[in-house]
Amino acid sequence: MKTLNSKVPEGPIKDKWTTYKDKIDLVNPANKRNIDVIVVGTGLAGGSAAATLAELGYNVKAFAYQDSPRRAHSIAAQGGINAAKNYMGDGDSNYRLFYDTVKGGDYRSREANVYRLAEVSSNIIDQCVAQGVPFARDYGGLLDNRSFGGVLVSRTFYAKGQTGQQLLLGAYSAMNRQIARGKIEMFNRHEMLDVVKIDGKARGIIARDLISGEIERHSAHAVVIATGGYGNVYFLSTNAMGSNATAAWKIHKKGAYFANPCFTQIHPTCIPRSGDYQSKLTLMSESLRNDGRIWVPKNLEDAKAIQQGKLKPLQLSEDQRDYFLERRYPAFGNLVPRDVASRAAKERCDAGHGVNATGEAVYLDFASAIERYGKEQAKIHGVHNPSKEKITELGEKLIEEKYGNLFQMYEKIIDENPYKTPMMIYPATHYTMGGVWVDYNLMTTVDGLYCIGEANFSDHGANRLGASALMQGLADGYFVLPYTIGDYLAKEIRTGKIPTDSPEFEEAEKEVKDKIDFFITNKGTHTVDYFHKRLGKVMWDKVGMARNAKGLKEAIKEIQEIREDFWKNVMVSGSANEFNQELEKAGRVADFLELGELFAKDALDREESCGGHFREEHVTEDGEAKRDDKNFAYVAAWEYTGKPSEAILHKEQLTFKDIELKTRSYK
């Protein structure tokens, strides 16, 4: 049995990364040309890693299931990216970003990793600007910032509501430069279906060409997994339809420990669901909470009338409204962290105050912001004694400048004008803080196998703060992995090219082919989506925003039953050797059906409430999450032993030397 070694360097936290970089092994440029690295997934983390490794001189093979790296779901991140630049002069610093992230994560992340993240955050902004990322600027030509949940400073850089898109296109352009030079070989429309281990080291992958259906072997001296999170285990989430956990789960089954799967983020501001046919949920950026106020009707009768369509929100006066976040959390108001905001909305809706037909929605209202900005704009433009209409017009114009694309997206889906009537929002699965366990080097428990970005567990603890996912993805890919992987590859300079005709490749390929043959030949009765939806319902009902022991035990049993049913009765059309989207889905859902069980098991095991993990048995008197630092200040890293139910728990004890462990309060 392997003991967990986080390999955090010694020394004061401020010096760890610098000192460490000074001492690690390097690979000389001539040797880098003889070393191959596989990067699976080309979103912000994978794309930036592939580009940087290629710039350094390694031969990179990159894999994406879409037809271009530009399609990765990082592109959908809206609001922004954090960096401790302190351009606003509002008291920001590396330490404060570090502190906010650890606190926001409810003290379940590794201090040293988070400090490093804060430390390199400023570099990311410099780098992206140099690449031509068009961040928002003020009239003086300087970069603009806004504020996000869980912090008291403005440190979020943004490009309209399309920050993820612009950052991903930046990484994509860096990749393109290397593809043109031949240093990155890009495999679009390819999916990794297994990792190949030789003598305990990751030496390659088995991938399927999604157009021809051909199974391919690819070898390398190290493998990097950057395939994002597992939010689609819920079926409905804000993830892309194709987002999946297959690469992460396959490496778990080959020896990589999976950490804290129950730490999943339910994002408060998503467009509510409308019917059973729904295929995905759409996020409305957290940045909207800068200007939008969240409320529900104070009186149950009003809520009922609204649900039945007999009353409109604008008919309710101020004193008939309950701005419940401002009421419960006066210090942070509408900008409390995501987990807190989501639970508060659920609490109000459960109590019957929801505002749409399903009763599962709350208002996000921009009327005060429109008035405030309108008055400000009137002053700026020298309009004296502006009429109410003029103020509204000017205010709406400014809101459009800030959030125009989000408002348009909302209007297209709901068919209501959010400038004139409040938006309706409800929480939805958005991001997974848990993931593959990695050490300080971002290496998994398998030698030569790395995991970066959302796919790993490392930086966000039990809850991620807004605008931190983009920061982590790019930090891992541009500035951390390229150093730490060198330390490992320095020992590989004498290895030579790795052949793909070894028994290990043979065996891994056979396993993959057998599974595909099974799906194609199985004469089942139900489609893949049928099973995925059933799994999603169990996950949402029993392993969702609020969990308890009874429900979790039931969930484990039900997931096992669905899985058994799946392997008997799944029906996949078409053949193996062609473009076959049903076959792609079948493999992904098979993995979700195992991951879901480990997820519930982890949630059952963690007898405390913290961050996105809320156990109904563990609450304070006023209904807030109650953490148990004495017994649960650890990372739960699970080792696969053949079945999710028999996974073995390894604990990485978390120590807090630079931040005092205390109850998170946003009051």
């Binding site: 037809d67 690449q131 309209k160 352009s173 890009m186 339809m241 019917g275």
Partner: protein, 246 residues
Amino acid sequence: MNLTLKIWRQKGPKDKGQMVSYNVTDISEHMSFLEMMDVLNEGLVAKGEEPVAFDHDCREGICGMCSLQINGEAHGPDRGITTCQLHMRMFHDGETIYIEPFRAKGFPVIKDLVVDRTAFERIQQAGGYISVNTSGNTQDANGILISKHNADLAMDAASCIGCGACVASCKNASAMLFVSAKVSQFALLPQGKIEAKERVLNMVKQMDEEGFGNCTNTGACEVECPKGISLENIARMNREYLKASY
């Protein structure tokens, strides 16, 4: 709503392909267009038939993966959105809807409604970048001042999602709106000036090699572009090209 769908079916790149008729019933007006396609496919698979292959991923209008020519229009009848953002309330009960792939010489069909858009990749690889290494050792981000006006224009150009609607809408199957969006983004920023000449020449050269046509100022691309990329970008690219050529 009950609808008749006439959908392009094509087994593979070498197959001839044809329109096939399907009926779908009980479609809610709140469904997205692709959810309606999901309903169709779910039914086809249950009947043991092959589902219709179509590209899609984020389903929120930003990844650029979805396509489809719906009733002859790229991304369908609504404006400023992608197919995945199109809702069934745009159609009425009993209607017949024609669904085809994006058609262009540069976009060969892979299967059914799925086309190969890797020509766009090769165009980007020809110069859609600024040659700066990702070492982090660049100057401070605020060391480069950029007027808000130009930053905003660059952002507008950069919001292209590479879906290919411009090509599919153009009678010449021109990719100039797509190429000019990237050329413009960098032409408007000081960081992009150094390589401006090589960039525009190389990207246009690659665009021609991929078999895309030229621009004759019809403007269909601008109308159908889900992100509202302006024709002004093509004008800017032409100026850049002329500057670089002489």
